[in-house]
C-alpha cells in the first residue's frame, strides 16, 4: 500500500441508473475535500436490470489505488456476485464487501475515504449507518 493512497469504492446495484445516481449523490455530499475514487457497477453489460461480474471487476480496477476497495451492494445477486468474486480472488487485494445500507453506507464510506481513512475505518463508517433509526 502506498502512503496516502485513498480507499476506492464501488457501488453495485441491479440498476445502472441507481448506481450512477447514488455515486453522484455521494460525491455531492462528500465534496469539500479531495473526493476518493468511486465508481458505479449497475445493471448488466447489455443494459438490463441485474448484476454483471464484468462491470464489477472493471469498476474495481478503475478505483483501486492500492489502499483497498470497498464494495456496497443493493440486493440479492449484487451481494452474491461480489461475494463469489471475493471468494475466487478476482477482485483487487484488500477488497471488502461492506455490511451497510446502500445509499447511506455509500455516503458515509465516501466521506471517510475522502478524508484519507483506511479501509477498516471506511467500513466502520458505512456500517454505523445501520444505527441511525428513522422512526
Amino acid at each position: 500500500m502506498s502512503a496516502g493512497a485513498l480507499v476506492g469504492i464501488v457501488l453495485v446495484s441491479h440498476s445502472a441508473g441507481v448506481a450512477e445516481q447514488v455515486v453522484e449523490l455521494a460525491r455531492g455530499l462528500a465534496a469539500g475535500g479531495a473526493v476518493a475514487p468511486i465508481a458505479p457497477a449497475g445493471g448488466t453489460a447489455d443494459g438490463t436490470l441485474g448484476t454483471s461480474a464484468e462491470l464489477i471487476t472493471a469498476a474495481a480496477s478503475a478505483v483501486d489505488r492500492g489502499a483497498g476497495v470497498a464494495f456496497l451492494a443493493d440486493l440479492g445477486s449484487s451481494v452474491l456476485t461480489v461475494k463469489a468474486l471475493l471468494g475466487d480472488e478476482e477482485l483487487p487485494p484488500g477488497s471488502r464487501l461492506l455490511d451497510a445500507p446502500f445509499l447511506e453506507g455509500a455516503v458515509a464510506a465516501l466521506v471517510a475515504a475522502s478524508a484519507g481513512a483506511p479501509l477498516e475505518a471506511v467500513a466502520a463508517a458505512a456500517e454505523e449507518a445501520y444505527d441511525y433509526r428513522k422512526g
Binding site: T44, T48, L49, G50, T51, S52, A53, E54, L75, G76, S77, L80, T81, K83, A84, L85, G87, D88
Partner: protein
Amino acid sequence: MRDAEFFRHWMRAAADAVEREADRLTELDSPIGDADHGANLLRGFAAVRSAVAGPEPAGTPGALLQVAGRTLIATVGGASGPLYGTLLRRTGKELGEAAEVSDEDLRAALRAGVDAVARLGGAAPGDKTMLDALVPGVEALSRSYRAAADAADGGAGATVPLRARKGRASYLGERSIGHQDPGATSAALLLGALADTAEGTA
C-alpha cells in the same frame, strides 16, 4: 472412474435440459420471482457450452467444472449465477488436479459444493430455494445418480407448500406459498443431467 469428457458431457446435458425447460423455469419464476430464471440460465449455460467445448482449456474434471462455474458467475446476471457458479467451482476445486475421479470423490466434492452454496446464500433446506433440491439430491448420491436426481425432483416438488425465506420471493410472505421454487426446479435439472450422463442416456 470419470474423466474430463464425462464432465464436459454433463455440462452439455445440463445446457440441453435448460434449453428444453427454459420456458417452464420462467413460468415458475413469474408469480414469485422476476420472471427471468429461464432466460438467465439459458444465457449462462449457452456460455458454459462454448467454454467447455474442445479439448482445452480444461483437461481435468476439476478444471472443467471451475471454468463452468466462473462462466456462470460472469454471464447469468441474476442470483442463480453466483449460486450455481459457486456450486460448480467449489466442486471443481475439491476434485483437485486428478485426471480421473471416482464416483466417491465426486460425491464428496458435490457435498462441499452444496455447503458452499448454503454459506454464500445464508440459506438452509426449508427456505424454498435450490437447496431444497440440492441437499436431498446429494444425500441420495450414495445410492445412485438416478436416486439423486429423483430425490432432487422430489425436493423441488416439496417446495410448493413452503413459504419463501430467501430472495425476492421472501418479500411476498404468505403469497409465496403454493408455487414451486424455480431454483429448486433448475437444481433438479442439473442433477437429472448428471444421472443421464452417468447412465449414458444424455
